[in-house]
Amino acid sequence: MTAEAGDPARVSVVDGVTLESRFRDVLDALFAFVGFFSRDGILLDTNQAPLTAAGLERADVVGKRFVDLTWFSHSAEERARVAEAIARAADGQPSRFETSVVSMRGGVLAIDAAFAPLRGVDGNVRYVIGTGVDVSVRRQAENELRRNRERLEEAQRLAHLGTWEWDIVKNEVSWSDELYQIYGVDRGTHVPTYESFLGSVHPDDREHTANVLRLAMQNLSPFAYDHRIVRPDGSFRMLHTRGQVAAGGGRALRLVGTCWDITRRWEAMRAAEAARAEAESARGELERILERVSDGFVALDRAWRYRYVNGSGGRLLGREAASLIGKHVWTEFPEGRGQRFQLAYQQAIDEQRPIHLREHYPPWDRWFENRIYPSPDGLSIFFTDVTEQQKIQDELRASAAELRALATRLSEIREEERRVIARELHDQVGQALTALKLDLAGLRGQLGSGASAEAERRLRAMDGLVDQTLETTRRISATLRPAVLDDLGLPAAIRWQAGEFTQRTGVPCEARLPEEEISIGPAASLALFRILQEALTNVARHAQARHVRVALARDGEAAVLVVADDGRGYASDEISSRRSLGLVGMRERALALGGETIVTGEPGRGTTVRARVPACAQEPA
């Protein structure tokens, strides 16, 4: 439509610079721009359509330099190109190029422009003719198409989705860019064919792949399946391939389809499956263990419902384990609600720490040992029936208490017997001997100097014998029950005992006693005195001490006796493990009055016995 003008037009223009009217009508109807220019670029005439579209009158443009018109106001570069094209045409060189003009509606229109010389009969260029066609819509569509293609490829790349087409008749295969990526091959060197495709399929999947494609071609039906491929570098990919068949004359001509790289998803699924299987196996193993243990095990959710009960748990609760699942624990066992069971469960949840509870369940009169652990979903509770154990413990405790009472009673009886014997010895034998001794003295006085030497000798012998017997009696009596304790009280008795010890062993025994009179009852006095005797006996036997210190003091309501030596000492564990009756006796003496005896020692640093009893303790009943 640009330079299709016939002879009439050419003649007309050349002759009168106006267009022949018939031809003008045609040009005016054209949507495209047609303009006539002087050789120096002045627009001499143009058709109507571009003027109408631009809202201009012919007078607005005719006679003006073409490139100065508003059409080119947007770009100096386009003005230069157009001016140059007109100038070239004026020199006889036609040209065609794409330029742009300002649209009256705003924006810029793409224009397919052409400029050509118009020659006179002499062959010289007289005018320049220019045409322009709006190609904006076409350009837009082209751009859109290109962008779409780019987007599709981007999408394929992102989705690891490739497309392919197999022309069966020509055995030509074409791949999208992404498919080359998926197969790990280079577009420049790899030529895809059916055979090369089948070759890259994993050997284990090859037969299946061939079958799928054969059946699709045979039945002319769409297909979809998963298969692995091996890349040239040896790595595997898992692909999901879909395709359909284009047929002609009842036979398959082409296969078209997509390949989706699902390796990541497949690996994730495989890992998830493996993890699930592992968890399942661990859970199964755990349940097998829980079923084997003799302890009861229950898992509770946070709403106190049974989530799991093992076989032993069911037996201990007297229910079928499975029948408890989903049931509410305090509905099933309402007597436990609000009791220490519930408090302990709540505590384990609140404090998120294990709780140990040994508790009696009154409805069954059974004792249960519970180990309650908080879990993410609620609680895990191990429990076992310890009724028999509890009974044995109670009995043991009772029998230990009985034994202690018996031992205390025995000790009292022994003390009483000693006291009686000591008293008898003192009152009967001792007094009689005393009288005898005094009488002997009296007899000697009466005989005076008249006694024969023989009588004098025998009297002296008798007096010596009485003295000896009296001393023996006194010693036996004091050993059984030191009269000094009853006569003079504990401080004096301690001083006496300390003196006795020093005399007997040669080891200095220093007694540190309260200056003022100290009020300590007879029971406490006796207990502390016997503890002192026992402690000193141990010192004499084992300690190899060079010095012993004994101290007595009141400490509030208590009387405290301390016996410390500087002997070889005992290790603490030696003391506690020693089955020494002496140590046990010291403890029991104090315990019977509600007090205590603590023995401490350190090898090489001596031993200390510290006894503490209520000062006014009564004799135990």
């Binding site: 001792g430 007094q431 005393t434 003295d467 006194r474 006569d487």
Partner: protein
């Protein structure tokens, strides 16, 4: 003349001691009691120059009896006696308010000396 109250629950001992005292001290009267209660009655009833008090009496301890005598007659000398050696008892008994202490097993002259001293005869 000195009046001595001899308190001991053993009749044999009382007899022997009386003999010793009479022989050792020419001018004494010796009265006897067998229990602390009766002795206290006697102390409250009439004047004495000395009480010889056994430490172990059937009705109460000698120390207690000593305390009660002291309460009745603070100036009355009291010599406490027992079978135990002086070594163990003398200081304790003096601390408890006794004028002196003597072991009944001591030689007769020693006993007589203690009594004389308590009576202020030396």
């Amino acid at each position: 003349m000195k009046r001595i109250l001899l308190v001991d629950d053993s009749e044999a001992v009382r007899g022997s001691l009386r003999q010793l005292l009479v022989e050792a001290l020419p001018d004494v009267v010796v009265e006897e009691e067998a229990a602390a209660g009766a002795a206290l009655v006697a102390v409250g009833r009439e004047p004495w120059d000395l009480v010889m008090l056994d430490l172990s009496l059937p009705d109460r301890g000698g120390v207690q009896a000593l305390r009660e005598i002291r309460a009745l007659r603070p100036e009355l000398p009291v010599v406490v006696m027992s079978l135990h050696p002086e070594r163990d008892y003398r200081a304790a008994m003096r601390a408890s308010g006794a004028t002196d202490y003597v072991s009944k097993g001591s030689p007769a002259p020693a006993i007589a000396a203690v009594v004389r001293s308590a009576l202020g005869l030396v």
